[in-house]
Assembly symmetry: D2
Homo-oligomer: 156 residues x 4
């Protein structure tokens, strides 16, 4: 991932109960940090959609997570979580996140999260709505890739 | 992933505090379930190594997680978590997991977790030891793939 | 608390991600175990009410938790969680829990959880309904104390 | 508890994954917030002791938690967590916490957490050391109560 493509970040401090018996952040907690980043990102760009929440007509579900763990984060570290939407396909879109240690500039973890837009009544994939595309496009500019369809890779 | 290749499973019940505001299991909890499966798998095959733990000489770290979310699990469901080691490379090995709803037979999620064997003093990758290879080979038989090296895919 | 007064128990295994950097169960996890016990208890006695959930007319909220930590639980221990409703007041009732190590018979923790029954529209305390009282009374028998009112003690 | 007696606070934002299916913070999470407050408090007053951690000679364990839930906290709220040590007995001491919504000034929850100082070799209670007493006394002044012994109340 290219750090230069990210236009949004939050700061987030590692809390004591998030570290495991080695004193390092548990592997699932990085995914929670990325989720915090995505929720804040959507608020920031003005999307009126809640992730993981049914809001009347639409429902967005997480269909795949990929995360590479580069360096462990430790208790009390202040972390930067960078978030962007990198791709919008027909009914899917992809969030990318970088977790950075701002003191050293080192990469802690990088995450790619595939989301699918569902019709909440029929529970079937539907085209990502135009108003959502527009606010993402306005925010991300030409780093956003829009294409016909995004296939979630197989696992294994 | 091919379910027929898995020779180990555990049963695990979804607890009430693991479901989110939609009544469905939070996306990071499936990774915790896969972790429970890996810990039980290692005990079952007789590996004296603890995941995520320094045990004298060796240290194993999780370097990548991939998970596809197929169907949500709900409160009180009894789940089956299938676990196997599918590949051993030079200093890496891969755990695969399937989470299944045994009532319907449907797949809930599938996970691929890359691990790296480190020399605990120098913190540098070292060859997966022969005794560990042997007990995995004895348990998995010809479904285990051993090859020169495993590259963790890039994210994004 | 008197163990002899409890007529309901569940078995529950400590999962690897529930232990902290000392290898012992984190202090908040015992409260989650007690919550699992309460949910199972209500199912067992046939109460059609969900804890922490709005079900049409009623809403039950947790107003106080007291827990004494006696002995730490460790990874992989199988625990017994005993649950009972010990008191019903006007709009409140109290759940008691014991967490026991069945191998040694030793007490791990004991919890007292105060709940208040709210009118879901006005959000004000209302009398615990007669049908709920009846199924608890039928299950608990003469160990259940019913009295005019239960005051939550002050903290500090 | 008297808010005026607290000389230390931290600010802490509710994260999305900390709320349950009602959109309110799960009851155990408030205890985690209080724990964050205690860890920061000890750093602030200059105590070189880690809670829940063995540091060579001493070991401090949590022996009791009391928490009253007054008002629910919701996603994205910024909370104030006030922390103080209110009492030091022979081998025990008590942390008090208040969680406040600074916008309304309303109390969210109040917690009292009993800790015991153990001799790490024999695992038996030992007198709270004089150097720890001194830094707490210097910080808290005359609101700190020191007395012969603190008995943990029974549960139930």
């Amino acid at each position: 991932m290219e750090a230069g493509k990210f236009r949004f970040k939050i700061d987030l401090r590692v809390r004591n109960y998030e570290v495991d018996w080695q004193g390092i952040v548990h592997n699932t907690v990085y995914l929670l940090y990325c989720e915090v980043g995505r929720v804040e990102y959507l608020k920031h760009i003005g999307a009126t959609v809640d992730l993981n929440t049914i809001n009347g007509i639409n429902k967005i579900v997480l269909s795949r997570n990929e995360i590479n763990y580069i360096k462990p984060a430790r208790f009390d570290m202040m972390l930067e979580v960078y978030t962007r939407i990198s791709e919008i396909g027909n009914s899917s879109f992809i969030f990318e996140s970088l977790i950075i240690d701002p003191e050293s500039g080192e990469l802690i973890a990088e995450n790619r999260a595939y989301h699918v837009w569902l019709d909440s009544e029929e529970n079937s994939p539907q085209r990502v709505p135009e108003d959502f595309r527009k606010i993402v496009r306005d925010f991300e500019g030409n780093t956003l890739s829009e294409r016909g369809s995004i296939s979630r890779p197989d696992v294994g």
